[in-house]
Symmetry: C2
Subunit: 427 residues, 2 copies
Amino acid sequence: MSVRAGIIVTGTEVLTGRISDLNGPWLSDQLLKLGVDVAHITICGDRPADLTAQLRFLTEQGVDLIVTSGGLGPTADDLTVPTVAEYCDRELLLDPELEEHIAGVIRRFRPDTPDLDTGPTRIGIRKQAHVPAGATALPPTGTAPGVVIPAVAGDRPVPTIVILPGPPGELQAMWPSAVASPAVADVLARADDLQQHTVRAYGLHEAQLAETLRRAESEIAGLERLEITTCLRHGELDMVTRVASGDADIYHRLLDVLTEHHGRQIFSTDGSTIDDQLIAALDGRTIATAESCTGGLVAARLTDRPGSSAYVMGGVVSYSNDAKSDLTDVPAEMIAEHGAVSEQVAAAMAEGARRRLKVDVAVSTTGVAGPDGGTEAKPVGTVCFGVAIEGRPTYTVTRRFPGDRERVRTLTTTAALHLVVAQLGRD
Amino acid sequence: MSVRAGIIVTGTEVLTGRISDLNGPWLSDQLLKLGVDVAHITICGDRPADLTAQLRFLTEQGVDLIVTSGGLGPTADDLTVPTVAEYCDRELLLDPELEEHIAGVIRRFRPDTPDLDTGPTRIGIRKQAHVPAGATALPPTGTAPGVVIPAVAGDRPVPTIVILPGPPGELQAMWPSAVASPAVADVLARADDLQQHTVRAYGLHEAQLAETLRRAESEIAGLERLEITTCLRHGELDMVTRVASGDADIYHRLLDVLTEHHGRQIFSTDGSTIDDQLIAALDGRTIATAESCTGGLVAARLTDRPGSSAYVMGGVVSYSNDAKSDLTDVPAEMIAEHGAVSEQVAAAMAEGARRRLKVDVAVSTTGVAGPDGGTEAKPVGTVCFGVAIEGRPTYTVTRRFPGDRERVRTLTTTAALHLVVAQLGRD
């Protein structure tokens, strides 16, 4: 690709692993969508020498654009702007208008702030209102403004540098104005015109897809021009392809080959997730859950989405055997005879939830999440599912998932969504 | 600190933001606990030139240890070992014993694998069994072995390099053998003897803690020798302090100052989480949940822990008003009069769940997670809680949380746990 970028994430709390970074992946995805090749993401703590070393490294790597996140706060250990300014040999200048703007934001959102006009708060505001000479300030989306510093060519070249705040909400809200700034627009104008497509499969192994892609190489001329990455997540296999506008035909031929070999496993070619498809498949019907081993994760995932109260009526977490009987009318004798982890109990749970919550569709999970509770017949990872749909016999199935407790619970949650969509699709 | 390290995370799927990296933060935390200062984490895709550039960068930064994750698979695009070997000027040598070991692992776990002795699978195994000359292979914890390459001093110095697999489970399982390898043990022997302590507070602002720490600097001699980082997460404020063995007294004096100023907010000084404390506070009692806006997140968090079936009986997700009445006997008139988001309904939900699930303790949440549904009296972020404990009047409280839907749901979940612990502590 013609335009390369590097991302620098600053913050001791990220470097030391106490919070996981959301900004690097988010920025990387945004840049890729703009046709920019992200070569490196680097993370450093709040030490100017380490940040300077990373700026120098990325400059030496010949990137056209550096985006930083973090270190824009009002306190003394927030050092990104002065450190970058020094690296670029640019003086820091106070922008009085910006100072008043920041003070106004704080006045509006935290009217009880003391020392707004004098003392430590004002010193902090003034610090944040300093902008490197020749740079563009980006309006704050929290209290901290961002900065865009244009590239310098010549003996000591410096790429275009965009400085963004650390809180992900502020960073994401500021991104459009960064992209629109003249210096960044200049860089992006040289970027490739690329489209990104996602194919999602469920129940497909990475090795099987790799084998199909290998074979496709000999069948489809120019396939090597597509940039394909695959990624396994929660039991789903995503294949993301970046395609130049002239190569759309090649991608369509690839899609044909994939559909031919793995049509049963591929559930999405338009980027939609199984969560999206569940809503479409419900098509106005209501849904409820009856969970044992997932302990609420299926309901939490269904209600994750704004507006889900229109179709999610609720659910029960029947963790104990008593709860299974009390909340979903599973007969105690059935549990005694077949065990709590059985398709009979899964069916009764789903049917009970459907009746109790007066919904059209109910899905149930009951399994052995581990680490204890496994038997030879039902080892850790064994999960029974039930899908009860109004006016139909209840569907049940048993699956075995690998991994530890967390992984079994996550894989079970995803499987529950896929089962509901599959059953609703059999109309 | 005397020993510095860098971490390199490889993988296009991580660089492009399609999966978020777990290995960098985990390794960073492990190294810090061993007294090693992590200066840089760098992320690159599956391109040898970028990996080499990062190796060179970290070497130039003078780190004593580099740890890499990822790129150890059997396929051609898994390039970490050959790339690092070339960087270190070391030949790759086939280790026939290792080859048989890997083949044995695959035979045991995937007995139906074709071409185990010939063809592509065997070629992949042989690739994984190549080790740089003079390096130590670490036994596979999945199918890929790790590698430790000892440092080289002299004109072209190279730090000690540890190569680990990408899947977090495999990487974490391999870490102890990496730490025990002679070359790594040599590096760690020079590391500082540091202890790490965590103080956790709830309802404390970062700015308040910063102010207290600033004041403590003038009161406690030598405080600057402690390395303190603070981190706000899900409404809890963690303060992590790294203390050299000779400075234990200084830390204890700091702890006294913190307790004096923020004793009400500090809930843990021994590293325990609110989840740990909830179990201790239950002390054999059973618990259930009744959730509206959290939609199952509280139950999911309670059942996240192995063995939780001993005290979590279950819960209900009463998302719709009907479900609130059907599952927890909340009178429809009460909802009509006070609204679903009210302390009256929260109390009735908790009491209903306690009765229906026959437990000692029940906690309820009902609120406006947003983005829609807010009113002037009950804006987005308003959440009512109920805690019903056997033999006591039910406790209720209303809170307002900032942020978007996800943040409101997360903050509500953490708040629910804190409320239960606080109420149980009032015995």
